[in-house]
Assembly symmetry: C2
């Protein structure tokens, strides 16, 4: 009858007040070499850490964010009540247990939340890069993360994880430098974008590009292409939810009792999308949205590129997908499992029940926590004897 223990646990779960840190590297003449030939430098990485790195530096977990995420994955910033984007999963006693592990999250290059991206100052011109920012790939993002991990003097990560584009980065770590990562947890992700995923990204980009205030990317003096970016985000939000979760959240409820007889947001779902679009333009750079969606579209580790034939890899994988996720459907996670199985890699695949659609990786905390906690525990003990639970498909 006493609810105190629950409350106590809740309090214990918080990582508390955190701060974003910055690491700048690749200063001339050692610029970062990018996959498609360009070089860039200096490069700044914004990052946060939670928990404590142990003495042998073996308990580090890199969390990679999705399209519009940032380095602020857990805790709160001083003076701001909004917790990080994966606060439910990162903290003492949580899935990524900061009483045991040292969790790192960095903003991707190409982004706009502290790491070098198109809104950063081009050292050659003293003005924002805009479209002079080079074309970047998921491999480039991972390369930059590796420089940060070097800087933190971590030889081998216990785990790299992330949902959606974060999962792509996790897979890329396994492809680029499997010797530096013990375990990978790709969530709600894919080896490559399907044409439907490319198509959604293309209309998102066209929303921005069609806005005349985008000015070929040179809008930094005049302000964001707000309408285009808001529209891009509205489209995104439809794909993040499921038909069912929209029905449960909005149904056909009206904002007012009668139609506007104009083109106002009559239905609650319209109002929700408009609000999400409007708030997004305050925190995200339109050019970053263009560059990052292109990086996602070009990502392709299918056909043996994840683990090349003949390479021995002892990295372990826990692959998670969600039933109602139609943006990154389960068959794409099954393809990852198939690739790994074909290379005799230790891999467990779980499809979790959820009605939340793609957002499930942010919202389905309980089942993810259980799976991940156990997987990390066996990984850190160097055990490979896990047999999954009732939902797991061992492949």
């Amino acid at each position: 009858m006493d609810s105190a223990p629950v409350k106590k646990e809740k309090t214990l779960c918080d990582v508390g007040i955190v701060e974003t840190l910055f690491h700048t590297f690749a200063r001339a003449p050692h610029e970062l070499q990018l996959e498609y030939g360009d070089r860039i430098g200096p490069v700044t990485m914004a990052y946060e850490t939670y928990g404590t790195l142990n003495a042998d530096r073996s308990n580090a977990i890199l969390v990679c964010h999705a399209l519009s995420g940032d380095a602020h994955a857990a805790g709160i910033h001083a003076g701001d009540e909004n917790p990080g984007w994966w606060n439910d999963m990162i903290g003492p006693g949580k899935g990524f247990d900061t009483s045991k592990y040292f969790v790192i999250c960095s903003n991707v290059i190409g982004g706009c939340r502290g790491s070098t991206g198109p809104s950063s100052i081009h050292p050659g011109t003293g003005r924002p890069y805009a479209l002079e920012f080079p074309f970047i790939t998921i491999a480039d993002m991972v390369n930059a993360q590796r420089c940060l991990i070097d800087h933190l003097d971590i030889e081998k990560l216990l785990c790299v994880t992330g949902g959606s584009m974060g999962g792509m980065q996790a897979l890329q770590w396994a492809a680029s430098c499997p010797e530096r990562v013990r375990a990978v947890i790709p969530i709600a992700t894919t080896l490559k974008h399907s044409p439907q995923q490319i198509a959604f990204n293309e209309v998102v980009r066209q929303s921005i590009i069609a806005d005349p205030t985008w000015r070929e990317g040179n809008y930094y003096d005049d302000g964001q292409p707000e309408k285009g970016l808001a529209l891009a985000r509205m489209i995104g939000h439809i794909t993040f939810m499921s038909d069912r979760s929209m029905e449960e959240k909005f149904s056909r409820r009206l904002k007012k009792s009668t139609p506007s007889f104009k083109f106002d947001a009559d239905f609650e779902v319209e109002g929700y999308l408009r609000n999400r679009g409007e708030s997004f333009v305050k925190r995200f750079d339109a050019n970053s949205y263009l560059y990052i969606t292109k990086a996602m579209d070009y990502f392709d580790l299918s056909g043996g590129k994840l683990i090349p034939q003949g390479r021995h890899v002892d990295t372990r994988f826990l692959i998670i997908s969600f039933q109602s996720d139609w943006l990154y459907p389960s068959y794409q996670s099954q393809e990852i499992a198939r690739e790994l199985k074909g290379r005799q890699v230790d891999c467990t695949y779980c499809e979790l029940k959820s009605t939340y659609g793609h957002d499930a990786f942010l919202l389905e905390v309980e089942e993810q926590t259980e799976l991940i906690r156990h997987f990390l525990s066996t990984t850190s003990r160097g055990l490979h004897s896990w047999n999954g639970n009732g939902n797991a498909v061992r492949s």
Copy 2:
């Protein structure tokens, strides 16, 4: 070994050269009363007919078009090689067999392909209506069609049919005046838009509205909001196809061998969407897109509104949906069947296999033809003994 019979049949199938006709009514003081209180007149309906009305005027089938369709459903216009949008289904020997039936298709009010809509001249101002055009509903569209059917002196239609928004109109005929229609074939449609369907329509509308050349709808002197309307259509096309049909049509093929390193259409699917968007602005009015999508969103015949409790209806229904249609998923057609079953209405529901997504109602000709031909044949014989085929679920 002789392929002549097949060729002959192909030739016989064409309805040949057709012409769009116009009927103007609701001249002052007899304007058309609209559902939400406004009145409008004069109203012009563009329509086409194929086949011959029989002596007792009992063989007429009204075909209703989808969001961006028009009255040109079959045959070709003189000097134009493009056949009507349902040419594969309408003609001698086809599903809607013009050697037996008199087929009518009219452009909806609110449209821009010959019927009165926001681009028509407002009789009070001598200028296009633009946003002074009244808010219209699917019931208003059907009311206007009824005036056309009166004009053609047809007391009772043999059938009303259509896919997508055309199916909504077909259902609305059954709701508004069941005594005037023997049979209804709603295809790939719904009793009401889900919040996901509303959401897609909302981003489509916002694409247009966010384009500054839309000018609050007053663009007729300066030209269409082309970028916004093209973007709206690109979004639409993603929802018309399935994940699988996009994979089969485009996969991840590039237009050129290397990325643009800018934001060009690198992938074939991007080029396809852009082409579809660009060609659409040449044939469709942006304001019509706004009005018609709102009419779809407000359509709601759920909860007993299709057939009110206690009303005896002897209209027969054949409901068709397609497996890969995620825009109008099969569960929505099953809801129609459930409503009708609850009113003891003669109703057959068939879910057809298809990978084409929502476009299937335009592309899956063979199975639709077989079902529809049989259904119309038993309907016109006044028989009610049809038991469906292997795919049919009698409900």
